[in-house]
């Protein structure tokens, strides 16, 4: 974390015979727009015929050695800030079942939002540790941060921003296999009995293009939340804190 992107290469798999070329065009031009927005340059790519469309980017950038942000610096007393709502995995399942159209639209909008602006806001604060929330879910990436930092965290599930319809979709069992795999791996996380199963599922839900999880001194929490909101990261919330030294234990209440 903390770097600036320079170049990006497309990596695409696509069912050439089954889907219209217009679909591929839409994917590539959407990617192109986001690369330009991020301030990088598109320098080509690779395409392979496959049963299911997949799209990704290989990005190269630079970072000043003294400005690299890792997930290993969280300190006792820090506040934990999350910059996007969670639930994209569950809502992607809902999309495949033609359910929860409002939530699906909100998830798409959230995923299309770059973390660039949140990253720029971060530069003005004393950020101790930072990571982005992706396939291991909020708790998976929080655990990586807490164990790498040698601390124990408390997360207040009632404060964690959820995408619209995500809680209802999780109650209906639209939970991706990855969320169960994350839960299975993250057995060291303890839940207060008041945290319902659907909320637990969302905390383990794999995210696509999730937000940033930031650990910084608690006295800067209110200020960074306001600054993030002004910069367009409207869901930004303080979701918990670093409690004490430890081996990565997380308590969710």
């Amino acid at each position: 974390m903390g770097g600036k992107p320079l170049t990006a290469m497309n990596i695409v798999t696509f069912p050439v015979c089954r889907l219209d070329a217009e679909v591929l065009l839409a994917i590539l031009s959407g990617g192109q727009q986001k690369i330009a927005e991020a301030g990088a340059v598109m320098v080509g790519g690779h395409t392979i015929d496959d049963d299911e469309p997949k799209y990704g980017l290989s990005v190269t950038g630079t970072v000043h050695p003294s400005k690299i942000l890792t997930n290993a610096g969280a300190q006792i007393g820090d506040a934990l800030i999350l910059t996007k709502a969670i639930g994209t995995g569950v809502l992607y399942t809902a999309l495949r079942m033609d359910l929860f159209a409002d939530g699906v639209a909100a998830a798409a909008q959230s995923m299309a939002q770059l973390n660039k602006y949140a990253a720029e806001v971060m530069e003005k604060y004393t950020v101790h540790a930072c990571t982005d929330i992706t396939g291991f879910g909020l708790l998976g990436h929080a655990y990586e941060m807490s164990s790498a930092s040698g601390v124990e965290m408390q997360i207040d599930s009632g404060e964690v921003p959820l995408l619209p319809d995500a809680a209802a979709a999780a109650t209906m069992g639209l939970v991706p296999a990855g969320a169960y795999a994350n839960r299975e791996y993250l057995k060291m996380i303890s839940f207060d009995s008041s945290v319902t199963v659907n909320i637990q599922d969302l905390l383990f839900d794999p995210q696509t293009s999730g937000g940033l999880l930031i650990s910084l001194p608690s006295e800067q929490a209110d200020s960074i939340v306001q600054a993030m909101k002004s910069a367009g990261a409207a869901a930004t919330t303080c979701i918990g804190r670093v409690v004490k030294k430890g081996k990565g234990q997380i308590n969710v209440k």
């Binding site: 109650t171 069992g173 296999a177 169960y180 009995s193 008041s194 199963v197």
Partner: protein, 207 residues
Amino acid sequence: MSNEKEQNNTILDCRGLACPQPVILTKKALDQLPESLTVIVDNAAAKENVAKFATAGGYGVSIEETGGLYQVRLLAGTNVGRATASMTATELSATDERPVFLISKDTLGQGSDTLGAILIKSFFVSLLETNPLPKTIMLINSGVYLAVQESPVLSAMQELSGRGVNILVCGTCLDYFELKEKLAVGSVTNMYSILSELTGSRRAITL
């Protein structure tokens, strides 16, 4: 995947399929409104998702595990959500075979309360295995202790709630015992709602 009819029970074979495929196929199968549906899955995630989906739709769910395979049986007889919009509330409750429980103590039975505390735990563990599950569990007097954070049967209560059982807790009783802050499962209710549940049910059981 095969989809075959055996008597009135439709079987949906989802072996080898990862989430969310089994739950998508379950939705398609339930759209045909079968009397009952047995979904066969081979992983715990799919089992949980299919059970959650069916419960949210008002189906009764029972699960049997044999050699790494799960047979998730969904019963439409308990399915309120599936009833047509034209049915009145009375018709709905008249066709609902699910029992309603009124529990008025935090122990089970008369005599020894020590024994009663053991029996109530065993009662709730067994209740989880019943089919259909209760429609509603109502807690009054010291029964409200079963729904607070220190409840000896909290996990069973939460599982029941998660599987669609409506848990109603007497508000006056919570106030009396000063337990309102500690309520961990279910929703607060009043005597009118409790009476409506009792008189509207064909299978009301008082403990």
